[in-house]
């Protein structure tokens, strides 16, 4: 757990909100909430620590789409879930020069959500045909859009204790 503590300290220098969460309830060890500008620094830090990129995706929320990143480590058991809201222009800096696998993940996210990754070498449709490049199928309709707090777990509690109510 030393490594993870050191990682949390370094990440805290980002600055980003880093929470240690209960793996048994959430499936990952660390949750990182940050801004679009800090994403590249996070990626650089994790690249130096031998983390691999599991996926890049997004979730459509109010007020802005949040881009999701999941990293995991080959050596430690440490899985990191990072969320960053896109900038006002709907863009996000790319990490595909540090993690080449992000190339395709970012292309897919752009297909599905319309998030433009600045600096991406070839942001062309991956899964959708060229004529449907602006379809953005995974964006939510007006009435279904939720805000961030609606989809968050019990607010800001230390998630080590299980939530009070359990529906049975």
């Amino acid at each position: 757990m030393d490594e993870t503590d050191r990682l949390i300290d370094d990440l805290g220098g980002l600055p980003a909100a880093v929470n240690r969460v209960d793996y048994r309830r959430r499936g990952f060890h660390l949750e990182v909430l940050l801004n679009a500008e800090q994403v590249r620094k996070l990626a650089g830090m994790l690249r130096d620590r031998e983390f691999y990129l599991s996926f890049v995706s997004a979730v459509h929320l109010l007020p802005a789409i949040e881009v999701l990143y999941q990293f995991a480590s080959f050596a430690l058991p440490c899985r990191i879930m990072a969320r960053a809201a896109v900038t006002e222009g709907g863009t996000m800096p790319t990490i595909s020069d540090m993690f080449h696998g992000a190339n395709w993940h970012e292309r897919e996210t752009r297909d599905m959500f319309g998030v433009v990754f600045t600096g991406h070498p070839y942001l062309e449709p991956l899964l959708l045909p060229e004529e449907d490049a602006d379809l953005k199928p995974l964006l939510k309709a007006e009435g279904e859009l939720k805000t961030v707090d609606k989809i968050s777990a019990q607010p800001k509690k230390d998630a080590a204790e299980p939530p009070a109510e359990e529906e049975r």
């Binding site: 080959f74 993690f99 995974l138 609606k150």
Partner: protein, 371 residues
């Protein structure tokens, strides 16, 4: 990444390893820029099988989406479903009875062996050997018969439920599985003689391409290919789920990251699967196989992730819930997607025959990539 026309200096031409091709194992199109027999650049073009599973996940209830998970990586369908039900149980805090966990492990491992056998046959078929596929499919038929008795399906199983499994296994299942374990152990010698010691096979597969740990980290390569590079990473050991922490099995690793090593890793993985199944059968606990869950299952708001080790690598589900009975966002991370993304880097200046061999080693199931 692509050039509009072939580079005139290099006298190259474009060859479409089109959506219909005997070796692409599904509807995958690879645009090849070739110079004679040498591949200068390869660019996979995806989307021919895109069914927007993730949108479907947002319009169906948690339980209604379950059949879709089998259709992702249909060769290892039970393992994919395992990830999904595990995720829902994790979020809802549902405890699965131990007998159900053991049954899940047994059926998942049988599925994994079936998947590796199919890969073996198809890999040799790509290399031009028409006989081994018949032998591996013969073995695979035994698995399909065993699983059909208890699940009702042969390929796209919908056997797991939130809270356990649908039906209990009986004595005949256990007996047939034990017979199968004995039979498969004897068959490994045949595969050794027919394939592994075959000089032409060795010359086709060894020392052609090298997967490195750095490549694995950059592309998110997981599964037997990752283990062939020497990194001992298996979700079943590193982040154990279900009942895997109770079993004693090895994670085979290679050393050089060769295609031959990847082949050996998969063969040894099959042997380890047999070990797990044996231990699970020996220690199978009694008890119920399904707990009652509410008909309209609502998950608390929040997000969660669940990763399983499929035959091809790490399959991860990530879902965001807003408190209702329909997911807000369901993300499916497929191992074949990340594995295929390293093809352009790996197959530069490679012969066409070797490209076909590398595609076979990557072990792709295209519906999992396109989703």
């Amino acid at each position: 990444m692509t050039t509009a026309t072939g580079n005139q200096d290099r006298h190259s031409f474009f060859l479409n390893m089109g959506p219909q091709h005997p070796s692409t194992h599904g509807v995958l199109r690879i645009l090849l820029e070739m110079d004679g027999e040498y591949v200068l650049e390869a660019e996979p073009v995806l989307g021919y099988g895109h069914r927007i599973q993730e949108k479907m996940g947002e319009s169906r209830t948690w339980k209604a989406f379950m059949p879709n998970t089998s259709r992702l990586d249909y060769v290892g369908a039970l393992i994919c479903t395992h990830g999904y039900v595990g995720l829902i149980e994790r979020m809802a805090g549902i405890e699965v009875p131990p007998r159900a966990e053991y049954i899940r492990v047994i059926t998942s491992e049988l599925n994994r062996i079936g998947s590796h056998l199919l890969w073996l046959g198809a890999f040799l078929l790509d290399l031009g050997a028409f006989t081994p596929i018949m032998y591996t499919f013969d073995d695979r038929e035994q698995i399909l018969d065993i699983l059909e008795d208890v699940t009702g399906s042969r390929l796209t199983y919908c056997y797991y439920r939130v809270g356990g499994v649908n039906r209990d296994i009986d004595e005949s299942f256990i007996e047939k599985t034990r017979d199968f374990i004995r039979r498969l152990r004897g068959r490994f010698k045949i595969y050794q003689d027919l394939i592994t010691d075959n000089i032409i096979f060795i010359k086709r597969v060894r020392d052609i391409v090298r997967f490195t740990p750095d490549m694995a980290r950059r592309y998110g390569l997981t599964g037997p290919l990752l283990r062939s590079t020497g990194i001992r990473y298996d979700i079943r050991k590193n982040e154990p789920y279900s009942a895997y922490s109770e079993f004693d099995f090895e994670v085979p690793v290679g050393t050089t990251g060769d295609c031959m090593e990847a082949y050996q890793v998969r063969i040894r993985e099959m042997e380890q699967c047999l070990r797990i199944i044996e231990q699970a059968l020996d220690r199978l606990p009694e008890g119920p196989v399904l707990v009652k869950t509410p008909r309209k299952l609502k998950l608390p708001p929040g997000d969660a992730s669940f990763s399983v080790e499929t035959a091809r690598g790490e399959l991860a589900y990530y879902l965001v819930s807003d408190g209702s009975d329909v997911p807000y966002r369901l993300k499916i991370r497929s191992p074949c997607f990340s594995n295929l993304s390293l093809l352009p880097e790996v197959c530069r200046d490679m012969l066409l025959s070797d490209l076909v061999m590398v595609l076979g080693t990557l072990d792709l199931v295209i519906p999992a990539i396109d989703r």
